[in-house]
Amino acid sequence: MFIQLMNSLALGMNLFIIAVGLTLIFGVLRVINFAHGSFFMIGAYVLYSVVKRTGDTALGFWGGIVVAMLVLGFIAWLVERFLLRRLYDKEHLLQLVFTFALVLIVGDLVKIIWGPLQHSISYPPGFGGATDLGISRYPTYMLFLILSGPVIAVSLWLILEKTRWGRIIRAARLDRQMLSALGVNVKAVYSAVFVAGAMLAGLGGALAAPRLAVEPGMDALIIIDCFIVVIVGGLGSLWGSFFGAIILGVATIFGTLIFGEWEIVIVYILMVAVLLWRPWGLLGRIEEDRH
């Protein structure tokens, strides 16, 4: 039972790290970024490339994570600066087609660069085994995931709520034009948010990589989980996606244990149930998307 709870948390925290970027981007840019899964995938692949060169060293792994985030930041900057930016004042939904196009392109590029076969990354040195927690032994890397989730959540929360930067980001999601008339370079804010969201996806991908096969198609699987997390938690809400991720983690693990292969149905029933109980998600607010 204890192990299962820990498992749920580890899964949930990993999902949170990936999904929080999605909710951040949606919260400010109002773009539903289908390419978020693609960013996740690139993160994992970049880490793979780095580790392949450096061998299984600590520096290789942790440095690779940083490289993965930087690469994604750069890609996201290019995408935002030269393409996405031109769509903000166009028909809103067309951004969906845009991000869908990105998914297609990245899908093929990954196949071209890294080949069609699956790859695997070892746990970083010192994280491959289990740690004694008194009650039982538990995989060290998963403990690390469980701890890194709240760290990222709290840091993001501090940035958003307690810094001027965060206030500007929150204002940008409310009224972009007015903010610009108040002397804030909103274009740069949008760029920064998109880049930050993509870097978080890359971080999530890199952190998840040692526990997964790095292979084409991993983008399509993760994005739907991210959607569930973000919707259950409440669109655009940081803590919402935190708790949404934990709920999905619990539902997946305990769903499998209790309902076996019917877990597939359970997760969606749960999502429907949450939305019926709280239409705007756990911590979401009513969307004023008209006017």
Binding site: Q118, S120, T140, R211, L212, A213, E215, E263, I264
Partner: protein
Amino acid sequence: SMSADTIKIGVLLPTSGGGASYGIPAENGIKLAINEINQAGGVNGKMLEYFIRDTKLKPAVASAAARELITKEGVHVLVGAVSSGVTLAMSEVAKQEKIILFAPISKSIALTESKFHKYMFQSSANTNIEGRVMAGVMKKVEAGKICATGYDYAYSHDFFASLESNLEEGMAIVDTFYVKLGTKDYNALISQLMGSDCDTVAGLIWGGGFVSMVKQANPFGLFDQKKFVWGAEVGSHEMSNSLKGDYPEGMWANSYDLWYSPLSDAHQAFLDDLAELEGQKETNMYPVTTYNAVKFLAKAIEISGGTDSDALVTALEGMAMETPLGPMTIDPETHRTETGEFWGPMKKIEGSDVLRMSPAEYVY
């Protein structure tokens, strides 16, 4: 491109997304077979040509592409696909259009049982055979109480049914744990396996899922607890290559082909040619399956003297052929040929960080 007077083979394989790791290597087998045949002067003086379409792992897409290949490109036979659902959908098109569909990879028994029709041929080891083969392995490892695990879909269900019915006295499946197809998190399953009092685990989780499962189970020490017999071709070189030292040592696993374990000179020659085509000594396991399929079809065309489907069916029924993996014969009743697979325990080899099947035995 080539003249209208070629023999055209329509190939349907997943080449994008999650299916690419099967489809793209499988295409190499087609290329190799066609190159060989064309260099030897073709079939009855005609060159072979193939047209490949991505199934995108979607049955409806595959059906439409199959129809397009037949009506637009005018292909004479079809080869494919990987996943059973997709192959079944294509089989329906083959039936309507009266074009042979040769399935070298899909293991569904429905193809040649409940949904059987005249134009359907299958050269993979289907779940009936695979289950029987695995039962043999179980005997070898003295499996005792078995718990079975696999993705929740027809392949696993059929497979375990066959395994169960072929098990020796004193062995039985005591627990069965299905997980949803495409699962990324195996922690619940790992706990269930660790909690079960079985002696041996019979596994069918394949591809990237197997990688994830192993990576997640290693820190828990799952693989030290029980014996493991794993189907679904996770014994392939590709798989051990990607997992390297993380691969659970001692696990019994299988593979369509092994570049380091030639069965014969003919097999070695095939592997050498493939190595040249792929530009790597350590070749993939899928090419041999599609290679054989093309060879069968080419021979049937040669014998029947044309591309008329009905004549081809007649030629294929009962056809025997030497293949890199030894002699194969198509049963005239079931339209199937028994393909074996390499089975053996995975061992660390000195001087390499990749595990190998040792000893590898070709069984069917």
